[in-house]
């Protein structure tokens, strides 16, 4: 399982990476915004994308849309982990095809639960 974590704050990337390692996912790469993430995704056979929303350069929602618009990446599961908590934003993310949505601050339990849910759906 290869995972890409995208967040402009390196502390948050480290936190998510640590939590993922705790859950048994050790093959984790990082990017600090959509612009750097997209080429990595296109060239790197990732199995899951975990992304923040509010980032300079290319935001998470634009990254999500770009992923869905890319033939090769269209089916990549995307989990958003973000402080953006407004109703319209969550609806917009859902419409753009997000697979899970976690608002910051979050707990290790929430991350585990949402990941399990995504994998359950994929298996079904």
């Amino acid at each position: 399982m290869k995972i890409l974590v995208v967040d402009d704050f390196s502390t948050m990337r480290r936190i998510i990476k640590n939590l993922l390692r705790e859950l048994g996912f050790t093959n984790v790469s990082e990017a600090d915004d959509g612009q750097t993430a997209l080429p990595k995704l296109q060239s790197g056979d990732f199995d899951l994308l975990i992304t923040d929303w509010n980032m300079p350069g290319m935001t998470g929602i634009d990254l999500l849309r770009a992923v869905r618009a890319d033939e090769k990446l269209a089916n990549l599961p995307v989990l958003m982990v973000t402080a953006e908590a407004r109703r319209e934003q969550i609806i917009a993310a859902a419409q753009a095809g997000v697979n899970g949505y976690i608002i910051k601050p979050f707990t290790a339990g929430t991350l585990k639960e949402k990941l399990e849910k995504i994998f359950e759906r994929l298996a079904a």
Binding site: D7, F9, T11, M12, R14, I15, N18, L19, E22, W53, N54, M55, T59, I61, A83, E84, A85, R86, R87, E88, Q89, I90, I91, A92, A94, Y101, I102, I103, K104, P105, F106, T107, A108, T110
Partner: protein, 254 residues
Amino acid sequence: MTETTMDASLEARLARARALVAALEQGDELEADRVLDEIGRVRQSVLFQEIGRLTRQLHDALTAFTLDSRLAQLTEQEMPDARERLNYVITMTEQAANTTLNVVDEVLPMVAELSDKTVSLSQRWQRFLQRQMPYDEFRELSRDITVFLNSLDQGLQRVQGQLNEVLMAQSFQDLTGQIIRRVIELVQQVEESLLQLIRFAAQQKGYSAPREKDPDAKDAKNVEAAGPVVPGVDKAEALSSQDDVDELLSSLGF
């Protein structure tokens, strides 16, 4: 107006008046009309100049007014908002510091206790290895070792859990960072507005202010990133918990 131009204009008016009187005395109606027309034209152009001056003043006043209203908005609304946001940053950093310190308070004595037990057990173990231990004492030692291994396992699990708590507490850096960035933007806007006001006051020229981004317009574009929700400041329809988010998503068929 300088004295010479005033003299010149007085001279010109006197010359026209004399010409008019002369024409009337000579009964030259045509010449009299021509001089009168000329006087009228001069008066008109003075009027236009005056209107032009007033228009410029109005324009300047309006420019100053828009500057003032932006500053007023900044001071009345956004500055108190920024204060709230920064207070929230203090609260969040305080929480993170307390969480971390609590973990240290709990973990340090636990580790110290385990360390003491280890020292005492290893001393007894050495005695056993040197065959200086009677059988009864060895039975007691092996019982103590079993108990110790058990408590070691529990202790390490607690340490692991506590370290995870420290890990999660660090998320404050991301959230407060986003909030502080917004406040920095605001400070920049205030700085620009003040600079414009100073330039305007200094030059009294028709200085047109660069168009500011209207923060309300930004909020209206609802899917743009707005950063973390700050309680008491962000009144927009924000969901406060993961449960609310899950509920909304499941209502959308997730």
